[in-house]
């Protein structure tokens, strides 16, 4: 994955990436927005046709369909594992948004979030106030990455992770990984931040967020990064009980963890070890959180989420487990709206509960 510098001709996309698609259409079945609309325009193949039209000048820079589709796409990358031609759609989308969302093209809420993410001192203070995990610095140990928003939204998650893996160092001085930037129109800044984080945490980086794991891996290399469920393979103990019986739990995959890194067996293995695991139909499909998507396009986000909530409620489960804070928030809010008895939890918290 090389830098997406604009070519001298002013081309927006890496031509090698854009030419890969052979338009076979195998991606259509995997795409959540195509499932919503049935419209070729909102399929990966259709979006690549739009990228090509934009790149070649067949469509003008301000074309409204092109702008709308660059935003309507969830960026879940479900099209990648099913693509036999090996199109790196996620990379193309980053380049597309980098062009489309430059300057004032970016939604206001995204600008606010990026502004907030850039204030690393604020996260440090918020993390301390909210009681996120913290240990002395230690360069030689694997380090737990503290997600910038997770620290204040879900401070318990890092404490659970540390309880499960006490050998982890958790320095509070660490920045944003840059996934937010990369997915929202600032691919270069996204890479820069990942490199900086890599320097701040020089050993193996363990993360409780599938989205951060995928972005960090793409920049720093796969061997530098482990998502928590990967890291904890084979070392969980205990059981999660509800009353006298084993809890019934299901997983909601993190899209980038599953589609970007191919990690989906690992969290299932852990959950099966401590509870009765139930595979939800469509567990691998996007929940609609999709990073900033649930804030930028709340209506579409809910349309994607709704069938998933139906499946969760029909499955007779006690917990639905997330491996990414964005998905956790999305599921919690959705279940709360429905007054559902099912609880959404982060995998770190559930495993902590099992360990007792």
């Amino acid at each position: 994955m090389t830098g997406a510098k604009a070519a001298p001709t002013g081309s927006i996309f890496d031509p090698g990436l854009l030419s890969r698609c052979i338009s076979c259409g195998f991606c259509l079945a995997a795409c959540p927005t195509y499932a919503l609309t049935g419209d070729e325009t909102s399929s990966p193949r259709g979006r690549i046709a739009l990228m090509r039209a934009l790149d070649s000048g067949t469509l003008p820079p301000g074309d409204p369909t092109v702008a709308e589709q660059s935003s309507f796409c969830l960026g879940c990358r479900a099209c990648e594992p099913v693509c036999p031609a090996g199109v790196q759609y996620g990379e193309l989308l980053e380049q597309w948004r980098g062009y489309q969302w430059a300057g004032r093209g970016r939604p206001l809420i995204v600008r606010l979030l990026i502004f907030a993410a850039e204030r690393s001192w604020a996260h440090r203070i918020a993390g301390r106030l909210r009681g996120a995990a913290r240990t002395p610095e230690a360069a030689s140990r694997p380090a737990l990455m503290l997600g910038c928003f997770e620290r204040s939204l879900y401070p318990k998650v890092s404490r659970s992770a540390l309880a499960l893996a006490p050998e982890l160092a958790v320095p509070s001085r660490q920045g944003c990984c840059g996934a937010l930037h990369a997915h929202n129109g600032e691919p270069e800044r996204g890479k820069q931040l990942a490199v900086q984080l890599g320097a701040a945490l020089p050993g193996q980086i363990v993360t409780t967020s599938g989205g951060c794991a995928a972005h960090l891996s793409a920049v720093l290399g796969r061997d530098r990064v482990a998502e928590l469920s990967e890291y904890l393979q084979g070392r969980v103990t205990g059981q999660v009980l509800v009353g006298n019986r084993l809890a019934r739990v299901a997983l909601q995959d993190s899209c980038h963890l599953r589609n970007g890194l191919g990690v989906w067996r690992e969290p299932r293995a852990l959950l099966s070890a401590v509870a009765e695991y139930v595979e939800l139909p469509g567990a691998g499909r996007c929940c609609g959180a999709a990073g900033t998507y649930s804030l930028v396009r709340p209506r579409d986000s809910r349309r994607v989420l709704d069938p998933k909530l139906d499946a969760i409620e029909a499955a007779g489960i006690d917990y639905v487990v997330a491996v990414n804070p964005g998905c956790l928030r999305q599921l919690q809010q959705g279940l709360r709206r429905r007054k559902s008895p099912v609880r959404a939890v982060h995998i770190a918290d559930l495993l902590r509960l099992a360990a007792g």
Binding site: S19, R20, I22, S23, C24, G25, F26, L28, A29, G38, D39, E40, T41, S43, R45, G46, A49, L50, A53, T58, L59, D63, P64, T65, V66, Q69, V82, C83, P84, A85, G86
Partner: protein
């Protein structure tokens, strides 16, 4: 925007009223994505895209189009490989996607009835709980629509044993270009009342009518299904093995071959640990009762060994079998990793001429200096010679590939074969069709076309044009 709006404003207003405002698309970007399908190189912009909800709306659209002489191109998932859904004369692309309900699965009659845009996979998923399945399995079955399968008479890997789409279509609801809604056939295996219009429309590639509903026959799901591989030094040897297998009285459910170049591409993609020295690979499979499958496998293995197989490998379980079949299904896209442009062809020859045909294809590729890899359905003589080019802008290479394919078609016809086994004619092969059919049949086809579509509005520039 298109250079000039070729559809008059009042017609657009009426179209919008028919399908509902959100289902008529006119923006330049929305039109651009409907300019092509899975066929490389052939693109043309439509003037409008419309997605009607039912046969009644389709009828109103077609009547309007006939009245105003506006081309209409029906489109399912756009996964065809003959540019069958490219609007070569502009006009309206009629997307069937909203007609996507499964209407019934009737286990006692062993059939299913579905609206046209139900995917092949979804149809199979609906049949599975009843212990039934729909045999035709085109490579794109996860996305292709059943209506599109019928329109192109799609084939697939199971063709030798189970036949192709036409063998399963019992009845159709079709909207004619003049607006009549016709129901052909029905729910019966035996029914000879009248011309077999169901079969005529099957494979008519959206030139005679718009299919809105399909009734297909289902078969009992086989108890066991197994897959294996045999490696050969050359394709000629593999060809002899195919003859040997069939002579031994086995009709395998799958009998596919890949040449060396295809094996390399698939291996790169799927990492199956394919033999690295073999010149050809034969993928075989059978399904049915366990004992029957076991006996088939013994006979297939014996026939392969007699023809000089280097090694035979059988899949241990369903997951492994599926991996092998998936790898075969994705041969084409995997080949595309070798270059930026892949042009795939679809010639068929009588089974005994298969090895000869492959050798002739190699010679043609060398003569025209193009890279050609060949895979296909050994059991039914259907080959997919595929030309891989470095770049989509290599006009000289494309021209050489086109000359090579013209030779491939002529060779196929010379050997008693055809220019397309399962992908269809569409816009891509119309120029070669007369070579295969001759003037008598071409004239008859045009007369049939005129009987259905007097104004010539339905998918013009394809069959019957």
């Amino acid at each position: 925007m298109p250079d000039e709006l070729r559809i008059p404003q009042p017609v657009l207003t009426e179209l919008r009223a028919i399908a509902g405002p959100g289902n008529l698309r006119l923006a330049a970007g929305e039109l651009a994505v409907y300019a092509g399908d899975a066929t490389p190189l052939i693109r043309a912009m439509p003037d409008a895209v419309i997605a009607p909800a039912d046969a009644e709306q389709v009828a109103r659209i077609l009547r309007l189009a006939t009245e105003h002489r506006i081309p209409v191109v029906p489109r399912g998932a756009g996964s065809n490989l003959c540019a069958g859904t490219v609007p070569v004369n502009g006009g309206i692309v009629l997307s069937t996607v909203r007609m996507n309900r499964i209407l019934e699965v009737a286990p006692d009659e062993m059939l299913a009835r579905a609206e046209t845009a139900v995917t092949t996979q979804a149809l199979n998923d609906a049949a599975a709980p009843h212990g039934l399945f729909y045999p035709p399995d085109p490579g794109s079955h996860t996305v292709s629509t059943i209506g599109g399968n019928v329109a192109t008479c799609a084939g697939g890997l199971r063709g030798l044993k189970y036949g192709v789409t036409r063998n399963y279509v019992l009845g159709l609801t079709v909207v004619l270009p003049t607006g009549e809604i016709v129901r052909t056939g029905g729910r019966l295996w035996k029914d000879v009342a009248g011309y077999d219009l169901t079969r005529l429309i099957t494979g008519s590639e959206g030139t005679l009518g718009v299919i809105t509903e399909v009734t297909v026959a289902l078969l009992p799901d086989p108890v066991t299904s197994r897959t294996g591989l045999a490696y050969f030094g050359s394709l000629a040897q593999a060809g002899r093995a195919v003859a040997g297998i069939l002579a031994a009285g086995v009709i395998p459910s799958t009998l596919e071959f890949l040449d060396r170049k295809c094996m390399d591409a698939v291996e790169q993609y799927a990492h199956l640990g394919l033999h690295s020295d073999a010149g050809a690979l034969l993928l075989f499979g059978d399904d049915g009762d366990e004992a029957v499958v076991a006996r088939s496998f013994e006979r297939i293995a014996a026939a392969c060994m007699e023809s000089g197989a280097m090694a035979i490998q059988t899949a241990g379980d369903i997951t492994e079998s599926e991996a092998l079949l998936t790898a075969r299904r994705c041969t084409l896209p995997a080949l595309s990793r070798l270059g930026s442009l892949t042009i795939l062809e679809d010639a068929s020859v009588p089974r005994p001429r298969l090895a000869e045909m492959v050798a002739r294809i190699d010679a043609i590729a060398a003569r025209h200096q193009v890279t050609m890899a060949t895979f296909g359905h050994a059991g039914d003589g259907n080959l997919h010679p595929t030309c891989v080019l470095e770049s989509a802008s290599d006009t000289d290479g494309i021209a050489r590939a086109e000359r090579a394919f013209a030779d491939v078609f002529d060779t196929a016809i010379e050997l008693g074969g055809t220019i397309t086994g399962e992908h269809g004619v569409g816009a891509a092969k119309l120029p070669y069709l007369a070579r295969r059919l001759g003037t008598g049949q071409m004239d008859l086809i045009r007369r049939i076309k005129t009987a259905f579509d007097p104004a010539g509005i339905l998918n013009p520039g394809k069959l019957g044009s």
